[in-house]
Every structure is written in C-alpha cells, then in structure tokens.
C-alpha cells in the first residue's frame, strides 16, 4: 500500500479539521482529495507529508511507519499552490536542491537535473530565476524539483489553483501524462471537480473533516452516496422527490408511463448546450439538452412536456 493513513484526527483549537479519517492509496495510483475549502483536505495532505502532526492516528508510507518521522526524512515530494520556489536560486539550482542536500556527486546531479528539466520542457530556462518564469513554468519547475529526489510519494496541494484556466487545463493533462510515465504514488488536493474527474484514478471526497465517499471518478459521478457528493461532483436538479442529473432527464413530447407533466418556463442556449428550465408539479427542474434534442422536440417557453429520469440514471431521494 503506497499510503495508509488510519484514524487521523486533527484539531486547531476548537476547530475540528479532521475527524477519524482513513485513507488508503495503492502504490503508483493517482488519487484526488476533493472537497470544498476548509474541508480538511490540505490538512490531511500535510499530515501525510509530515508538515503537520496528527493529534491521533498513524501514517504508513510504502508499509513503513512514518507517523513520528519528520518531513525531511520521509522522502516525500511536495508541490505547493504558490510554487514555493527558492527565489534566490536559478531553476537549475532549485531542481538540484534535494540532490545537493544529499551530497550527490556533481556529475550525477547535472545529469538528473537536465533529464528532469527536459521532461518538464524547461531545459532552456535552466539559468533563469523563478521570477523570470510564468506561473505555469514555475509549477513545472516545482514538480521537477519534487521528483528529483525520487520520492516514494508525490503530494500536490491545489497545484493549479494559482494559474489561468487555459494553463490549468494544459498542466492537468500534462500531470496525467507525467504520472503515466513516472508512476509515483500521487495524491493531489483540489476543489475543482472537473480536475478530479479528469485526472485521477480515484477520488476521495472530504467535507467537514470527514470522508464522504471514495471511488473511481465514474463511480462517484454515477453512484453518489449522498446528496453532498452528488452536488459537488456535477450539476444536480430536483424532479419531484428525487435528485437527478440534468442531463439524465428525458424530455418527451407526449404522455408516457412514468413521466410527469411539466411546462417549459425558459430556454437558454450556451454554446452547443441548451438549458431548459421547467416547472413540474412542486419542483423546478432544469434539463440539459443538446441543440439537436431541443430542436427535435421543438421546445418553446410554454410548451407542455413530460419528464422522467433516464432508465439507467442514478437518483437520490431529496432530503
């Protein structure tokens, strides 16, 4: 087991950051800790990395007890949201830092650093200072720096949070491809569900210091355990007494078994997607359709329609 954290509890004064949390990450797996701000995911990550100590619980890395071991001896790579670049050192010296601390021979350092800089496409910036790099480049440097010492575990704390959307998407893809090549047990923290869904092998949803659900992206999206997970991972709307995904509602032109009557209130077109807001009995569901579907049904405000959840859609009882 790459990472095994059991029974982790942590308080800051009166605030309970983590409450008896268990986390298992298989060796070589890429796991996302997903949840809203203040939910405890960064705290858990830092406890795994040794930058915080839990009040209770144990941490094992590669089946070796790491609970009391200080951060500098855990051999864990850490990447921070705001890069934590060593501002007075060049890109080369930043990446070489961990190796220099370990007193590796100069030739070995040079080879490894250039290998990594090529991997992250920063080789031509080796002599620049971090302040001369863009945000995306700094984060790639930070990744190279963390990987330089061949850590057993790679931890990323909202690594793309400080970057523009476009750069964020690029680096997201890039992280996934890097992981496919390098296969280090990786855990990253994010509050962006799209990121978690796109990049990770497994998602752990954390809210208010507790784990809500653990599973593959598809598992969590299609079979959420509760309405928090369902609404955090994707859009949700209420049809009657059930919570269902807006794209999982079938809109029919004629009365059909199992379908409730409704009326189109408003239509909004966003790109190729059409959002139809409806009134059905006591609820106000909205439905996500493609343009083709909306045109085929000839949807107009005021049109009467029948709605039912798609037969393979998972729904939850509304609380």
């Amino acid at each position: 087991m790459g990472i095994a954290a059991h029974g982790i509890s942590k308080r800051f004064g009166d605030f309970v950051a983590l409450d008896d949390v268990d986390l298992d990450v298989e060796s070589g797996q890429l796991t996302a800790l997903l949840g809203p701000s203040g939910g405890g995911k960064s705290t858990l990550l830092r406890i795994i990395g040794g930058l915080e100590n839990p009040d209770e619980g144990t941490v094992h890395i590669d089946d070796v007890e790491a609970t009391g071991v200080p951060a500098q001896r855990r051999n864990v790579g850490f990447v921070f949201q705001h890069y934590a670049a060593f501002k007075h050192l060049s890109v080369y010296r930043n990446v070489a830092f961990g190796l220099e601390i370990r007193h590796r021979p100069k030739a070995e350092i040079r080879q490894r650093v250039h290998e990594l800089l090529e991997l992250v496409h920063l080789d031509q910036f080796a002599d620049r200072l971090p302040s001369q790099l863009s945000g995306g480049q700094r984060q790639r440097m930070a990744l190279a720096r963390a990987l330089a010492v061949e850590p057993k575990v790679l931890l990323l704390d909202e690594p793309f949070g400080a970057l523009d959307t476009k750069v964020r998407k690029e680096l997201r893809d890039w992280l996934r491809r890097l992981h496919d090549e390098v296969h280090v047990t990786t855990v990253f923290v994010t509050h962006d569900q799209e990121e978690a869904l796109e990049v990770s092998d497994e998602i752990v949803v954390i809210n208010n210091g507790r784990i809500e659900q653990t599973g593959t992206p598809n598992d969590l999206y299609d079979h959420p355990a509760n309405d928090f997970v369902m609404s955090f991972l994707g859009p949700v709307t209420q049809l009657g007494e059930r919570l269902v995904r807006p794209h999982d509602i079938e809109v029919l032109g004629a009365e059909t078994a199992g379908a409730v009557p409704g009326e189109v209130v408003r239509l909004v077109r966003i790109g190729f997607e059409v959002r139809a807001e409806l009134r059905a009995g006591d609820s106000d569901p909205w439905v996500q359709l493609t343009r083709g579907q909306a045109d085929a049904l000839d949807l107009q405000p005021g049109r009467a329609v029948w709605l039912r959840p798609a037969h393979d859609a998972s729904t939850l009882a509304a609380s």
Binding site: L51, Q72, R73, F78, H82, F97, I101, A146, V149
Partner: protein, 288 residues
Amino acid sequence: MTDTPPPVVIEPPSRPTRTAAPRKRRLVKYLLRAVAVGYVAVLVAMPLVVVVWRTIDQGASTFWDAISAPDAVHAYQVTAEVAGLAVLINTVFGVGVALLLARYRFPGRSLLNVLIDVPISISPIIVGLALVLVFGWTTGWFGSELQNAGIEVIFSTPGMVLATAFVCLPLVVREVLPVLEEEGIEQDQAARSLGANALQRLVRITLPTIKWALAYGVVLSIARALGEFGAVRVVSGDVTGQTQTLTLVVDQRAEQFEPGAYQLSMVLIAVSAICIVVISLIRPRGER
C-alpha cells in the same frame, strides 16, 4: 431610421486667468519649502559644516596630533572591540528573535514584540543605570556572585558591549522581521520536504532570503554602536586610556577645553558618512 444628430460643437478648455489666488498659493509653496530646507540646514548641515570648518582651520598638524594621541588610539581599539562585539551579538540574536516572532505563536509573543522597541524609547542613560543595578559588584542583583567569580561587567568591556548591544536591539529585528513575515514559511517547508534539516534550511534558504534586510540592519547597528554615548558613559566609568570609546573621548576633550574634539569628531563623521553611503547603496536592492 433616426434623425441625423445635431452637429456637436467642441469648445477648447478655457485658459485660467491670472488672479491673486494662484500667486498666494505659489508663495505659500515656496515658503514651506524654505522652512523645510532651513530646518534640515540648521539641525544637520550647519553643525557638520562648523565641525569640518574648525577642523580644517586648526590645521593639519593639530589634526594629526589629535588623532594619534595615545588615549585616542586606545579609544579606537576600545570602540572597535565594543562596537564589533555588540553588532555581532545583536545580529545573531536579532535573527533568532525575528525567526521566533515570524514563525511561531506562543503566549507572550505580543509582549516580546513590544519589548523589542523598548531600547529605542528609553534614554540610553537609563539603560546604563539599569545595567549597573543588575551587574554592578556593589549594588547589583548579581553583584556578589560576579565579584566572587571575578567577572567584571561594569567599568569594563563586557558591560559596554551589553549596553551597546541593548541600544542596537531593534535595528536588526525590525529590518529582518517584515521580510520573514512576507516570505512566509513555504520555502522553508519545501526545503524540509526535500530533506533539508534546520541548519541547512537556515543557511541555504533563510539567510539568503533576508540577506539585504540583514545587511541594512547590520550597517544601521554599526552606525548606532559607534555613536553610542549615554549608556556606555554610565557603564564604563569613563576612565581615560582604559574604558573610553571614541565618543567619550570627544566628550572629555570638549568638556575640558582640550584640543582634539573637532578632529576626533571628524573621524566619527567620516565613518558615519561611509555607513550612510553603504546604506544607500544597499537600500534600493533591499526594496525589491
């Protein structure tokens, strides 16, 4: 579809007419400038000019005699030793205290933060007196213990070093602390995760980060240490040829109408001028 809009007339901005009000405003402006310049001139420039003038006036041989007199030479040694040790001690403790305040929360933290500024606010003579009351052989708290151990603090170099270090206390801390607070702790944590122990992080990350602020604080401390008078006077006993720093010699010469006060003041002024030049060279880079 719509009617053509009426033609738009653009009028040029009206030129301000010369009235009495602007003239009065200009007068006030010049008057304020004159007051400011005059204030600096009288307080700072004039005394310096007088010292330089009188020194030159008294001639080169007087200059040479004054600065090479035995008690002056001894004073250079004492000053270098006292200021040097005080600045060194203050630098080490200054960085330590700044790190403590920047990175840790503990009961009494705010109090410590306020205490750092005490040396600036109380009179140096009181500093000297306080030291005598703590370390003096006859009157001090630790007097008998020190006397039995044969350790002379008051009327000797250790006391003078203490007094000078005390008055320099805030200078390093107040320069370094904001830099540490602004940088935050992330670089240190990154270094930790990469395997660096506390000493390696201090030397490779923390010190380079506070480099310019620290240099600035040290130069300020040097200037302050060299110019210290009141506290050192009380603590040293002002014994000619033994426990006098340069400032004390200048005071003695001036008081007793002996020659040499201007010349030795020139030496102090020259050293201060060098400090100021160094400070201004360091400063722009420190403000990065």
